[in-house]
């Protein structure tokens, strides 16, 4: 207690000093990079960097080429390939020395080939320094080749095929891929010798060449047209060259497959009966930098116009933008900013301005055409809005540090005096936002879209605060709401989805065949499709209807997941089963909400069950409904795929009744900017965490711990962090003979008390939306399931680079060492005892839990539902091979290694329930004593366990 008071005093002292220095001063960080490459706290954005040499114009410089092998210094072992390229196999810094003949502005590109599937991450140093913020987090996508667009199943339905990693060398320009800047980065070099260093943080890359290109200002179409005239190019009046959108040969994402629109008669090709792969894009193709490349043959040299049939039904009353490149080059300025306006149906357009189409000069021969996502004209808006949102966010933190999350309505906070320049900041934000909204409206022809709406709501709040300076605190919750909604729109603004059905090229615009099908044709198509939907063929989801050996699987998911699994089975399971068993095994997927028990009772059960909740396998196993997987000789090999303890909950007696097919765990999230400002380190132990909590709460913010919210069949792992604490304190939950719960033991009670104290004594709120509060900074430190990481990474651009993840706090063991154990949550998949195809079902399970399948399943799902749909695979290899940021992957991998699982016993679900009930009793204060609550509920749980044991003993007889 004394110690506690001592700490508290210190904390208060520190706070008194630090509060006066709020608002945020950027703290010094030393990331500890070695080798003289100092990562300074860079405040220089590219925008400001480029302003420094805006008025200098040195465009007549020469191109400078450097071979990959001509490095002057290298920190890591690198190999030279036969072609004289540099093969970088690991993290490391490679330095090149260049001689610049005269002051000039260059863009930098390098020609390389990325090995493997991960995108390439890179920091660029010039003369040992990162020139601007963005150069410290450059990334380049891998290219994928799509040789085969689709395959056809035996029912005549087409399905898309996964692309292969491109083996070619590609020229990659250093450019922004957050959408803030549409043009490649420009670097200023003064005359003389300079060094360029590349710091690869995930490298498996073969580097051929580094190119410094002098800044090349794009000509306008006006000028280009004049050159056409001077060269006497002619307009080619030919039948259009037709390129199908889905036939793109090169793409920057694995998850950009050809898609099928079965609802519209306008898309080519279409069929009312069969699924046809007939367009590409939609939500797969929306992030800045994502590129599709098509190639086509031109038979006659001359001028061509380009038209497309497209659909842009996602951005209401707004444009989606694309950059056109012909043979890898943007031909003129306007081509970097092609807009596609909103409509709910398929539309056609010809690239051009109001008066005439843009003509592109094409020589006879093969060419490539590429469209890549850009924010176009809205990129500047995005950047400006991001800046304003940041200011609004910082201001929010300043406000709540004074008022708290819910200000006392009876108190006068006098915010305008307390916060320096408060009035000015609000005024500026409001007027900037108003200006932005007006300009955005102008861009889309005065149509109000969602962005403008969100902006107007924000300005309304700001104006109210300015108008009522003495009751400004009344608007805090409104301010929070509008700020979070504006941040979400900021994320949306970065997305530019577009679907392309077909691209056509011809000189004569009259020849384009891009129109939609007529009204009657569409209606007829819809009617036939509707009638056909009643046929049995339409509803079956089985693969290969004529297979003799067939296994049946029930799934209770959406159609998307089922479709993805179905495609995967066709893509690889048939082959896999042929290799394993010597014959193809068909799979029948049935979407049903029926539970397994219904199936078993009606004797119509599936052969295997996927994603069974934590306690289900034991429940079924003790009643003889599941098959013991240890009967298969290779089960131990299969278990190697998972975390060491992942299968622990699925053992009953000596049998194994399920394989883990998903596993999730907690990690810690922190807002680096806020922790820095408060002078806090990232907590390493629980003591650190609680100390940090005290400091954070002093500043009217709070920390987050997940609450206990298990459903009937989840294990103890889902009772908040109780399971984790039990693991760290090395407390056994069940007796060694698996016949009773030991939660009434001394050590379990002390862990339980420690857990509930966090909520009752330290006042960590039991419920709050972590995601939103973390974004706005209300909750700068928290522990949550790692899936939040993906959500934050994809959907919270406004805090990019200002947060991180870390291992969850550790407990110091008695011997002075510490452990980071964390309890897992997850599901399992198993085979039913009554199944007559056990061997086939086992083959399926082996296939399903394999790294390749899990990865492919995940990639397909992500391509349809977005990165947020990432599955919590239990396969360690698949997990590591997913596209993570590499530093974060290390942390995640580390934490995954520390996952431990509780065993499950018959009636064990009641233990979870008892913990949950006892927890809420303590939190609600209906039981003063954590010990009493837990002991009382544990008694009931033990009674249930005893009853179950009696029941299965009876069954065994």
């Amino acid at each position: 207690m004394k110690k506690y008071i001592f700490y508290l005093t210190i904390i208060i002292l520190v706070l008194c000093c630090s509060i006066s220095t709020m608002p945020f001063c950027a703290a010094e960080t030393n990331d500890g990079k070695t080798n003289n490459y100092i990562v300074e706290d860079i405040e220089l954005s590219y925008n400001n960097y480029s302003k420094q040499f805006m008025d200098k114009s040195y465009y007549d410089a020469e191109i400078i080429n450097i071979n990959g092998s001509d490095y002057s210094k290298v920190t890591n072992e690198c190999d030279l390939t036969e072609n004289g390229n540099l093969l970088i196999n690991n993290n490391g810094i490679i330095e090149y020395t260049i001689n610049i003949p005269d002051d000039a502005v260059y863009t930098i590109a390098f020609t390389c080939r990325i090995l493997g599937e991960n995108e390439l991450n890179l920091d660029l140093f010039i003369d040992g320094k990162i020139p601007f913020d963005e150069a410290g987090r450059l990334s380049f996508p891998q290219y994928y080749e799509q040789k085969e667009i689709f395959r056809t199943d035996d029912l005549g339905n087409q399905f898309s095929v996964a692309p292969n990693v491109s083996e070619e060398f590609h020229n990659r320009l250093l450019q922004d891929n957050t959408g803030e800047y549409t043009e490649p980065f420009e670097f200023f070099f003064s005359k003389g010798q300079h060094s360029i260093s590349l710091n690869f943080s995930n490298a498996k890359v073969e580097l051929a060449k580094l190119t410094l290109q002098p800044k090349n200002v794009l000509k306008s179409y006006e000028e280009i047209r004049n050159t056409y005239k001077n060269n006497n190019y002619e307009i080619c009046d030919v039948e259009p060259i037709r390129i199908q959108g889905e036939a793109a040969e090169l793409k920057t994402s694995r998850s950009l497959p050809g898609r099928s629109d079965t609802e519209s008669a306008s898309v080519y090709p279409n069929d009312f009966k069969k699924t046809m792969i007939n367009y590409i894009g939609f939500n797969d193709w929306k992030e800045p930098g994502e590129e599709l490349v098509w190639s086509f043959d031109v038979e006659k040299s001359g001028l061509y116009a380009i038209g497309t049939r497209f659909k842009q039904d996602q951005l209401v009353n707004a444009n989606s933008y694309r950059v056109i490149k012909i043979d890898g080059v943007i031909p003129f300025k306007e081509a970097a900013n092609i807009s596609f306006y909103y409509d709910t149906s398929w539309q056609s357009n010809v690239f051009g301005d109001e008066d005439e189409p843009f003509y592109f000069y094409l020589e006879e021969g093969t060419h490539t055409l590429s469209l890549s996502v850009t924010l176009g004209e809205t990129s500047e808006f995005y950047r400006r809005l991001k800046e304003i949102v940041n200011t609004i966010g910082d201001t929010y933190l300043n406000i709540i540090m004074i008022t708290g999350e819910t200000p006392d309505p009876n108190r006068d906070y006098d915010l305008f005096k307390q916060i320096p320049n408060f009035n000015e900041i609000l005024q500026n934000c409001s007027s900037d936002l108003n200006k932005l909204a007006a300009e955005m409206k102008e861009l889309t022809g005065n149509n109000t879209n969602q962005y403008v709406g969100a902006i107007q709501n924000m300005t309304r709040v700001l104006d109210s605060m300015i108008k009522n300076p003495y009751s400004a605190q009344d608007y805090v919750s409104d301010y929070y709401n509008q700020y979070t909604s504006l941040s979400s729109w900021l994320y949306e603004m970065k997305n530019m989805p577009l679907s392309i059905d077909e691209i056509q090229l011809t000189g004569n615009t009259q020849n384009f065949k891009l129109g939609n099908s007529g009204f009657f044709k569409s209606v007829w198509f819809t009617i036939r499709r509707f009638l056909y939907s009643f046929s049995s063929e339409y509803q079956t989801t089985s693969t290969l209807s004529n297979n003799k050996e067939k296994i049946k699987i029930w799934v209770n998911w959406g159609r998307d997941q089922t479709q993805v699994l179905n495609n995967l089975i066709r893509e690889s399971f048939l082959e896999y089963s042929k290799k394993e068993l010597g014959y193809e095994v068909g799979v029948q997927l049935e979407i049903t909400t029926a539970t397994l028990i219904n199936g078993i009772l009606s004797n119509n059960q599936p052969d295997l069950a996927l994603y069974m909740a934590r306690t289900e396998p034991i429940n079924y196993a003790m009643r003889g409904a599941l098959y013991d997987l240890t009967n298969f000789s290779d089960y131990e090999d299969v278990l190697m795929r998972f975390n060491k303890e992942a299968a622990a909950p699925y053992y009953y007696k000596d049998g194994l009744y399920a394989l883990p097919d998903s596993q999730a765990f907690y990690i810690m999230f922190y807002r680096s900017d806020i922790l820095d400002a408060l002078g806090l380190d990232i907590p390493k132990t629980w003591d650190d965490f609680m100390d940090a909590t005290a400091v954070i709460q002093r500043n009217n913010m709070h920390t987050y711990l997940p609450t206990s919210a298990p459903t009937a069949n989840d294990g103890i792992g889902s009772c908040g962090i109780f399971g984790t604490l039990l693991m760290q304190d090395d407390v056994e939950v069940y007796s060694s003979d698996r016949s009773s719960s030991l939660l009434d033991g001394v050590s379990a009670i002390s862990t339980f008390t420690k857990w509930t104290d966090m909520y009752t004594k330290y006042k960590i709120p039991t419920t709050q939306s972590f995601y939103n509060r973390f974004r706005v900074g209300l909750c700068p430190l928290g522990i949550d399931v790692y899936t939040q990481y993906i959500l934050l990474r994809t959907a919270a651009p406004e805090i990019e680079g200002r947060w991180g993840i870390a291992n969850i706090p550790a407990t110091i063991n008695a011997d002075g060492t510490s452990n980071n154990f964390v309890s897992g949550m997850g599901t399992g998949c198993g085979i039913l005892e009554k199944s007559s195809n056990k061997e086939e079902a086992w083959t399926f399970l082996k296939w399903w839990t394999s790294a390749d399948t899990q990865l492919a399943y995940n990639n397909h799902l992500e391509s349809i539902l977005g990165e947020v749909a990432r599955i919590t695979t239990s396969n360690r290899e698949a997990f590591s091979r997913m596209t993570w940021d590499l530093n974060d992957l290390n942390i995640l991998d580390n934490q995954f290694d520390c996952v431990k699982e509780f065993i499950e016993i018959p009636g064990g679900y009641y233990v979870t329930r008892a913990v949950d009930q006892a927890y809420w009793e303590v939190i609600n204060g209906s039981s003063d004593n954590a010990k009493d609550a837990l002991v009382e509920w544990n008694l009931i749980a033990n009674r249930e366990i005893k009853r179950k044991i009696k029941e299965y003993e009876r069954n065994d007889k």
Partner: protein, 296 residues
């Protein structure tokens, strides 16, 4: 002899009602019989049932600490949602019936709407969100009534009233509609006759004319709302989860579902359902007796 011929003559009636009788027997009578039988067995659905006499019933009354709580909750719900809901809906119907037809139509629609849109009670989950930015919490916070957000569905003090309120909101519509149509079917001439016969006020009019003329409607809506109130569980389970905190809003039905589907004890679940069945039958008998008294 007489009987036989009349049976033969009436055979087409039997044929006409046979589809319903068969369906009723198969889907209602059989399951009831089945659960009465099963209630004397131990049955986990996957292995053979074993006979264990009245052990299930003994357990229900002696050895099940949850049973007492859920029985109490069920009775509270039955009273609050059944008779209270029924009275409320009648009074509302009576008031609304006094309005002009156009307004009446709008008001009736408003009251019937919640029942019509089924699972719309989810909106209450949003309204009573435990977050400090939940609608009701943020309202109370901003007015200054509370200082920290209330965890509505996890706090024993609040969860019951909220569930009762939502249940009333949702289930009142049906009996309200029955009542309003009953009110409209009352013969207007009776009021005139009553006025001549010496009815002095609206209360007498209500008791001696309105209520007796709509006895059947009353019976229907009373049985509907009270029977409904015993099987209240979906709303509570959706809003507060099962088990709710300290079993505060768990009812017999949700207890049955838990015992049967989570704990695989069909025998015991059957015994519980038989108990509920008997309870509902006796309550129905009481309602019937009460309604008979109307107007006397």
């Amino acid at each position: 002899m007489m009987n036989k011929t009349s049976n033969k003559e009436n055979i087409h009636y039997y044929i006409m009602i046979s589809p319903f009788i068969i369906a009723f027997f198969v889907f209602t009578v059989l399951p009831i019989l089945q659960s009465i039988i099963l209630s004397f067995f131990n049955y986990d659905m996957l292995s053979q049932p074993t006979f264990n006499g009245i052990e299930n019933y003994i357990r229900m009354f002696i050895d099940d600490e949850v049973f007492g709580i859920v029985l109490k909750n069920t009775v509270i719900f039955a009273i609050a949602v059944g008779p209270a809901g029924f009275l409320l809906s009648f009074v509302l119907a009576w008031f609304i019936n006094e309005f002009r037809p156009s307004i009446r139509a709008i008001l009736s629609f408003m009251f019937y709407c919640p029942s019509l849109i089924g699972n719309a009670y989810f909106v209450w989950q949003v309204a009573f969100s435990n977050d400090s930015y939940g609608y009701i919490n943020s309202l109370l916070l901003s007015v200054g009534i509370i200082t920290e957000p209330i965890n509505w569905f996890k706090d024993v003090a609040y969860v019951m009233p909220i569930v009762i309120m939502v249940q009333l909101w949702q289930s009142m519509g049906v009996s309200f509609l029955a009542n309003i149509s009953g009110l409209q079917n009352v013969n207007g001439e009776l009021y005139e006759a009553g006025a001549i016969d010496g009815i002095r006020n609206r209360w007498q009019e209500l008791w001696y004319i309105t209520l007796p003329s709509m006895k059947n409607m009353l019976l229907f809506s009373a049985i509907m709302s009270i029977a409904n109130s015993f099987s209240v569980s979906t709303v509570a389970v959706t809003l507060a989860g099962y088990p709710s905190v300290e079993h505060a809003v768990d009812t017999i039905v949700s207890h049955i579902a838990d015992v049967g589907t989570v704990r695989f004890e069909m025998g015991y679940a059957s015994a519980l359902s038989v108990f509920l069945f008997v309870l509902m039958i006796s309550v129905r008998w009481i309602i019937n007796k009460c309604i008979q008294q109307v107007g006397r």
